[in-house]
């Protein structure tokens, strides 16, 4: 596979946007987040998605899921709520159809996001999907707020989070990243439990639980009553959680939550993130990842940053 240059001469300095997450070298730290980019096809029609660092695929379960009834979308100031509920075609369709189709248009490794309703399902799903050569990292969703008896149920106690981590690590052929929920009292405690159980890295944050009420019907806007809040409104919350977690663990953290511009990517990395995921911003502007990838080296140069490694954790590390 031919690699693109990840260093760029800008002005007097060489700008390097490359990052390493558990041995996976990314040309830049920009990864579309799970659930906002499908399996890549819709975006491949719009631009050459090979410019992306990687792609976090739509959350996948063992069996096909339709998800929750509609309405599944509500709006708020600088953000939105969704209660999609893990709609996906099931792991077999993902490995047999979606990943091969994506491979036609995307040459790099992907991050496969898996979810389950039991520890066994997490392990089975991760084992199956990790066999694909296309998959570079397994991201384990223990933080979906829109399903009952699964998802977030495993991500709100350190014990349960540790158990899922152990089970997935035992069968996965690829590095395992646990995707954490912000709907907890102490995210660093959950993060440490995952690290102790063998996680290779962490992804955070998933959406925050929220709701809206329709004043005409006097009922919740979402058929599921509540949903997950995302978008620019949650960026400062996500940033603090990435900061607190990165300080507490010695494994890489992927920063997620409300990012929509290059300056926020740099903030996340300064808070301690190794790479970032762009979520809801893709829905508002389908070309946003390309814009951020173009904007990042320009902003690095302007900010006197040669390499992302030199600023990682700068917000809390002693010089």
């Amino acid at each position: 596979m031919q690699r693109r240059p990840h260093t760029e001469k800008r002005g007097n300095i060489m700008v390097n946007t490359e990052v390493n997450i558990s041995g996976l070298m990314l040309e830049n730290p920009i990864i579309p987040a799970s659930g906002t980019f499908g399996y890549g096809r819709e975006f491949a029609e719009l631009y050459d998605i090979n410019i992306l660092g990687s792609i976090a695929l739509k959350g996948t379960t063992m069996k096909r899921r339709y998800g929750n009834e509609g309405p599944r979308i509500a709006e708020c100031e600088r953000g939105m709520l969704n209660s999609v509920g893990l709609q996906n075609p099931g792991v077999d369709a993902v490995t047999d159809e979606e990943i091969p189709a994506l491979s036609e248009v995307f040459t790099k490794k992907v991050i496969a996001n898996v979810c389950g309703f039991s520890i066994e399902e997490y392990a089975l799903c991760a084992e199956k999907i990790s066999r694909s050569d296309k998959v570079g990292i397994i991201e384990v969703n223990i933080s979906c707020p829109n399903v009952s008896g699964g998802g977030m149920a495993f991500g709100t106690s350190p014990e349960a989070a540790g158990e899922v981590t152990k089970a997935v690590k035992a069968v996965s052929k690829k590095p395992v990243y646990m995707k954490l929920s912000p709907n907890v009292a102490d995210i660093a405690a959950i993060a440490k439990a995952c690290e102790k159980a063998g996680a290779d890295g962490l992804s955070l944050i998933n959406t925050l639980a929220g709701m809206r009420v329709d004043i005409k019907t006097r009922k919740p806007v979402l058929a599921n009553k509540s949903g997950g809040l995302s978008g620019p409104a949650i960026f400062p919350i996500a940033l603090k959680m990435v900061h607190d977690t990165a300080k507490a663990v010695n494994i890489p953290v992927m920063g997620i939550g409300g990012i929509s511009r290059a300056s926020e990517v740099l903030e996340m990395i300064m808070a301690g993130a190794h790479a970032v995921q762009i979520g809801t911003a893709n829905l508002i502007d389908p070309w946003i990842c390309r814009k951020i990838i173009e904007e990042l080296p320009v902003l690095m140069e302007r900010s006197g940053i040669n390499d992302l490694d030199e600023i990682r954790g700068a917000a809390w590390k002693k010089q």
């Binding site: 659930g35 906002t36 980019f37 499908g38 819709e42 975006f43 029609e45 719009l46 739509k58 339709y66 998800g67 509609g70 309405p71 599944r72 979308i73 509500a74 709006e75 708020c76 100031e77 600088r78 953000g79 939105m80 969704n82 999609v84 709609q87 978008g231 893709n282 829905l283 508002i284 502007d285 389908p286 070309w287």
Partner: protein, 247 residues
């Protein structure tokens, strides 16, 4: 699909709480009537989906009714304002499907619109007429002050019936009261109306609306169940064929 700025060149009240807006910009990629646009309203996070009523070389026409804060804000947009628009979106009405069906059997062709759902059917009727197909038109509204585009339809089609639920102009009743049954229908309107028309029809295509996150198939916010599995209203829709629909 492209994201471009369109300029408001007209925005006027045409019926109770109902506005017609003309947006100047690229219309070359629109392939079928029944496709839609996703339009940015400043101060609101999500774009708003509106079906294209009709288009010319220069502009897109949409019809919207004030239903919440976003459409309220749209109603006071001034001529000259520039809006970011994703266009075109969705599948649109498949006119070939009805042509082949009409050749096969002599089932009559009906346009059935309800409320603002009437808007995309105007552009469709124009396109059908260009192909030499003359459909019967039935438009249903709540009351007289909500009726729009009656003259526009009468100008282009010979068999147009307008019904209102309170009987204020023309015939009192529902679209389905006028249907003879067994028609091939191009329909758009509220879900209850679509379902009633679906039950009386023999075939056809039905335009749905939904709350959407993105409008282009990424978020799975507008999925619905069909006989062919789940479909996204924004991508595989908003037009579903009669045989696909599950109520």
């Amino acid at each position: 699909m492209k994201q471009q700025y369109y300029e408001v060149i007209e925005n006027r009240l045409i019926a109770k709480n109902t506005y017609e807006m003309k947006l100047m910009g690229n219309t070359g990629e629109i392939k079928r009537p029944g496709q839609f646009i996703n339009l940015e309203v400043k101060g609101f996070f999500l774009k708003r989906p509106f079906s294209i009523c009709y288009r010319t070389r220069e502009y897109i026409c949409i019809v919207y009714k004030i239903a919440g804060g976003g459409t309220e804000a749209m109603s006071s947009m001034a001529v000259g304002e520039k809006l970011s628009v994703l266009c075109p979106l969705g599948n649109g009405y498949d006119m070939e499907d009805c042509c082949s069906l009409l050749l096969r059997k002599s089932s009559s062709l009906l346009i059935a619109g309800g409320g603002t759902g009437t808007a995309p059917l105007y552009g469709l009727t124009k396109e059908l007429l260009k192909r030499g197909i003359k459909p019967k038109v039935i438009l249903g509204f709540g009351s007289k002050d909500e009726v729009f585009y009656e003259e526009n339809f009468r100008d282009i089609a010979s068999d147009v019936t307008v019904v209102t639920e309170d009987g204020s102009p023309g015939e009192k009743g529902l679209v389905t009261d006028i249907m003879s049954g067994g028609e091939y229908v191009f329909a758009c309107g509220p879900t209850s109306m679509l379902k009633a028309v679906w039950e009386k029809s023999a075939g056809g295509q039905f335009g749905f609306e939904s709350r959407m996150g993105c409008g282009f198939g990424a978020c799975m916010g507008c999925s619905c169940k069909t006989t062919g599995g789940s479909k996204r209203i924004c991508r595989e829709g908003p037009i579903l064929k009669r045989e696909e629909i599950l109520w």
